[in-house]
Symmetry: C2
């Protein structure tokens, strides 16, 4: 017997109630590719039922993105129309909520595209506005997955959307008798892990695995965070569904050693596989990939700090996502299957009092500042992690991909 | 032998080259329901190939509109997010171009909806901004049709999209060996008709047919216009494809008599059939419809002047659309099958020098000012039209639906 595929409505309700924790009277924006129209509408209905004042939808079209990447004149490639940036700032000013419905785009759409032009096509100004408001806690937001035939094809070798739905349902606990209750318990477990690391006040983390020997310095006031976040006005929400990680913000100038990715990354629609990087003084000084190296290099050259780290996250072998045994080819899932790092924008909320500081003050503390934020996986059942105390003592945190602290 | 369905590319090219007359360096916006994604992309490609600087797309979702109509709280029903209004003003400031891809929405989507809430759901502020910029000639724009299974179902009783494509191809002259040349010739013929009426400087028009006996006064400086228009900066374009009409703007206070519609109208997704109206002193004082009367009445109550006329258009029996013998249940087509009137916003460009006047000055001349503009068909092979000279002489213009002047 196999479980029935979860209904769109159940997933939409989880996104609105547990993910966003949407409050009556809030305005909401849904960002979705048009192939997710059905889930988008289910989320809109659940939002109104939960008391949303207004539901706006920003439908994206990956095929249109390809047309722009191919045909836009140079001067407007990646240009953000001002009204589009305004949409984000207006919603922030009204303390709104954002649901992103996400899936890896159909790889055939971006086949043969120019990686450099794809990277430049990424609406940097819009992303900068979005990241600014998100890092300042001006929204409650959540990213949920929208299954598609192309995605199922990539994961299973056949376009079995029902099977992908079931895998997602597993990862987001929709198979539990009371999914919201299961989520509360899960969030508490992750909070305990983060608290255990915070009790130590580590100066750095040392990660070792096949191809990886990386020392990641932490800002003095760094905090380990987990599933739930708070908006600037104090609303608690769960921004990723699924989520299995605890994470913090690295010191932009204190990362040294080598790292090798353990899962593929989909970046601007292109597959990037077998990444190897060497860091010196915080900067990636050598970047290689067996596939997609050009789009990776362009992305890491977006601005001066795009080649420095903005996130370190630890994920246990016990992860619901990891236990599916699947590679989802999608960061939302794969980052929750394994420990990972992200280059680019750091996490101001992972610094004590960081949301109240200016970016200049945050950078002085070591938080990286960039217009990109891209996660890639370095965890595996062979990963060992130590926390390094300020006196140099190494405290075992993970062994063979399992938490032994927290 | 039947003609092959026209390619999306050929239609997209006609829209960009002949409809918009897109100039290199222009920004373009495509407004389309997401079920027209394929045609949208074809238009985007043709626009870039013609030198567009940037192509923006505003994807609409009729099913989301239904969700809003059903579930929006009263206070935000029909609310326009400021950034959405901004999109229109920004594009106008950059002298951009707009392509609207249009189709009657699937009637099942709006089945059972509350007509009053549907009418209020219509983003009045966005429409006002759009009408303002359009009537001031700040865009070149074109409306083209996007066939859908639901539309074909309504027209033919079966979802035969290919057959609908062929009918559209016929109506927009894609069956001609050189469609752009055929369009140039067609536009010149309509221009001659308009010129013949303008040579007379009529004080009013008198329309007679079954259920119709209507005298439509014209502003003193009224002009008959046809297929092509000019932007404020002097670019000539063809805003409707198909187009078969010559038209002018009525005097808002000088319309008297009765009128009966000859084709159904789709208004905010609802079918409105067998409209009967009586006008006194320019205002519709009695409004009835065999079907859809509530949504019609709400639409005509949008604002103070929504119940006065904004357009009078004459269409010959020779119309390409009329000759298909089809009812398309879509204004873009059906208004070009038969003579028609529109209630709501008048046409400032159909007044000599009208685009340079303020709305106060236009209203003094008799141009109607409203946030809506809705056409419905009153023409048939039984329609007779006279032009009334300033001395009261009646000049025959149409007999039995055929032009005999011009």
């Amino acid at each position: 017997m196999t479980a029935a595929a979860p209904t769109l409505d159940a997933y939409a309700e989880l996104a609105v109630q547990v993910g966003l924790n949407l409050q009556p009277g809030q305005d909401m924006l849904i960002i979705a590719d048009l192939e997710h129209a059905e889930l988008t509408r289910a989320v809109a209905r659940k939002a109104f039922e939960a008391g949303a004042r207004f539901v706006d939808v920003d439908y994206r079209d990956a095929r249109l993105a390809r047309i722009r990447a191919d045909l836009s004149p140079d001067e407007s490639l990646g240009w953000s129309p001002p009204h589009h940036v305004q949409q984000i700032h207006d919603l922030a000013a009204r303390s709104g909520a954002i649901v992103q419905i996400s899936a890896p785009p159909d790889p055939t759409i971006f086949e043969g595209a120019d990686g450099e032009r794809l990277a430049r096509n990424a609406e940097v100004e819009w992303r900068r506005a979005y990241l600014k408001e998100v890092t300042e806690g001006r929204f409650n937001w959540v990213i949920v997955a929208g299954p598609t035939p192309a995605w199922a094809q990539r994961v299973f070798g056949e376009p079995d959307v029902d099977r992908l739905w079931r895998a997602i349902a597993d990862a987001v606990r929709l198979d539990e008798p009371d999914p919201p209750a299961a989520w509360r318990e899960h969030v508490e477990r992750l909070d305990r892990r983060a608290a255990a690391l915070n009790a130590h006040d580590f100066d750095a983390m040392h990660l070792r695995g096949p191809g990886t020997d990386l020392r990641v310095g932490l800002p003095e006031s760094a905090i380990w965070d987990s599933a739930s976040m708070q908006t600037a006005w104090g609303l608690t929400y769960v921004p990723n569904m699924p989520t299995e990680e605890i994470f913090t913000t690295p010191h932009a100038a204190r990362v040294d050693g080598v790292v090798r990715s353990t899962k593929p990354l989909v970046l601007l629609g292109q597959l990037v596989r077998d990444i190897e990087m060497r860091f010196e003084g915080g900067r990636a000084v050598d970047v290689q990939a067996a596939e997609g190296e050009d789009v990776l290099r362009e992305s890491m050259a977006t601005d001066e700090n795009a080649s420095r780290l903005g996130e370190l996250a630890l994920v246990d072998n016990d992860s619901r996502v990891g236990r599916t045994g699947l590679t989802f080819y999608d960061t939302l899932f794969d980052e929750n299957a394994a420990s990972h790092i992200a280059y680019g924008e750091g996490l101001p909320f992972a610094i004590d009092g960081g949301q109240e500081l200016t970016w200049e003050e945050r950078e002085q503390l070591g938080v990286n500042h960039s217009a990109v934020h891209v996660d890639f996986m370095i965890g595996s059942p062979e990963l060992d992690v130590d926390g390094i105390e300020r006196d140099g003592t190494a405290v075992p945190v993970m062994r063979g991909g399992d938490f032994i602290l927290g």
